[in-house]
Subunit: 192 residues, 2 copies
DNA sequence: GTAGAATCGGAATCAATATTCCGTTTGAAG
DNA sequence: CTTCAAACGGAATATTGATTCCGATTCTAC
C-alpha cells in the first residue's frame, strides 16, 4: 500500500521539477526543486535516487507525449502536412521548456538504456512521417534522415536557448521547410 | 619589460586552453589546461584572472578571425556567394571547436561588454552580406535578420554538439540554403 | 486509540573544482 | 656574479551543490 502522503509528495515533486527544470535546465538545484514542491530535499531523494533520475523521468514523459503526437499525425493520414507539423511540434516543445535538447547535449554520451529506446522510437516516428511526405511529394526526395535530424536538433536548440518570439520561430521554420520542399515555389513567410 | 618566460608561458597557456576548451567546452578543468600547458595552475591564474577571462580571450580571438573573413568575403565582391560562404564558415568553425555557441548559450545572459561589441560587429557583418546577397537576388527578399540569426545559431549548435560527419553538415546546409534562395530550383544536395 | 512502519525535513557530509597563497625559482639589470 | 623583483608550482582553501543520515512526524492497520 502506498501511503497517501507519499503519492501526493511524489506528484508535487514531479510538478515542481517540471517547472524548475523547464526554466533552468540541468543546472537547476535540488534545493530549489524541493522548495518549490514544498517538501524537504530528503523527500525528493526518497522518490528519485538522483537528479538525473528525476530529470530522466520528466524528459521521458515529454518524449512519450511527442511520440503520441507523431502517431496521431500519422494516423490522420495527411502525409502532406504530418511531417511538418511534427517537426514544428518538437521545436515548439523545446521552446517551451529547456530540457529536451539539454539531455541530448550534455548527457549526449551516456544515454541511459531506457532513453536510448525512446530515441530510437523518435527517430522511427520521424522517419515514417518523412517517408509519407516524400511519397506524396511534399518533401523533396533527395533529403535523408541524417540531415533531417541535424536540422531538427539545430532548430530545437536554437528555440530552446534563444529568447525568440513566436513569430521569429515561425518564420525560421518557414524558411527551413521551404528548403525541404520540392522545387515548388516558396510559401510566403508568416509576417513578423 | 615583460619577462621572457612569462611571455612564453602565456602563449603556452593560450595554446593549451584553445585545445582543451575546444574539446570540452566550458566544463574543462583549469588543472587540465595547466597540465597540458606544462605549467602550474598558479601560472594560468597569473595570466588570466578567471576561467571565464581565459575563455573570453580565446572566443574573442576566434570571433575576430571570423570577422576578418566576413570583411574579406565582402571585399571580394561576389555578393551571390559571400553570404552563404560566411554562414558555412561560421558553422564549420563551430563544428571544429566547441566554444562559440557555448558562450552564447550558457553565458547568454551576462555578456561582457567587450563581447557585446563583437556580437554587434558580427551581426552587422552578417547583415551587410545578407543585404548584398538580397540585392543581387541570391537570397529571397522576404527573410530578415532575426530568422537568419536563429538559423545560424541553430546550425552552429547542432554542428558543435553532434558528431556529424562533414558530408552531413554539407547536406544540411544545402537544404537550409535552398530555403533561403528565391524561387529558383534547388541545388542538388552534395552526396552523402 | 495505539503500535509500527514508512515517510518527512533539513542539517551534516562529501565531492568536485575554482581560486588563493606563499615558499621557491628564474630572468634582467648593473 | 649578485641582487631582487617578478613569475613559478602546486598544496591548501573556499565554495558550491549533490547526496546521505537520522531523529521527528505521519500514515495505516488493527
Amino acid at each position: 500500500m502506498i501511503r497517501s502522503d507519499a503519492a501526493r509528495n511524489r506528484a508535487k515533486v514531479l510538478a515542481a521539477a517540471e517547472i524548475v527544470l523547464g526554466e533552468q535546465g540541468l543546472t537547476a538545484r535540488m534545493d530549489e526543486i524541493a522548495r518549490r514542491a514544498g517538501v524537504g530535499v530528503g523527500t525528493v531523494y526518497r522518490h528519485f535516487a538522483t537528479k538525473e533520475a528525476l530529470y530522466a523521468a520528466i524528459v521521458s514523459a515529454r518524449v512519450d507525449l511527442l511520440l503520441d503526437e507523431a502517431a496521431r499525425l500519422r494516423a490522420a493520414a495527411e502525409p502532406q502536412t504530418g511531417f511538418f507539423r511534427f517537426f514544428a511540434q518538437v521545436v515548439a516543445d523545446a521552446a517551451r521548456k529547456k530540457t529536451l535538447t539539454d539531455a541530448l547535449r550534455s548527457a549526449g554520451i551516456d544515454v541511459k538504456a531506457e532513453q536510448a529506446g525512446q530515441r530510437t522510437q523518435m527517430r522511427e516516428a520521424l522517419a515514417d512521417l518523412l517517408r509519407d511526405a516524400q511519397r506524396v511529394g511534399a518533401v523533396r526526395p533527395d533529403v535523408d534522415m541524417p540531415e533531417i535530424l541535424a536540422l531538427l536538433r539545430g532548430a530545437s536548440m536554437a528555440a530552446e536557448t534563444g529568447d525568440y518570439s513566436g513569430p521569429v520561430i515561425d518564420r525560421t521554420l518557414a524558411v527551413l521547410f521551404d528548403g525541404l520542399r520540392p522545387l515548388a515555389a516558396h510559401e510566403p513567410l508568416p509576417s513578423a
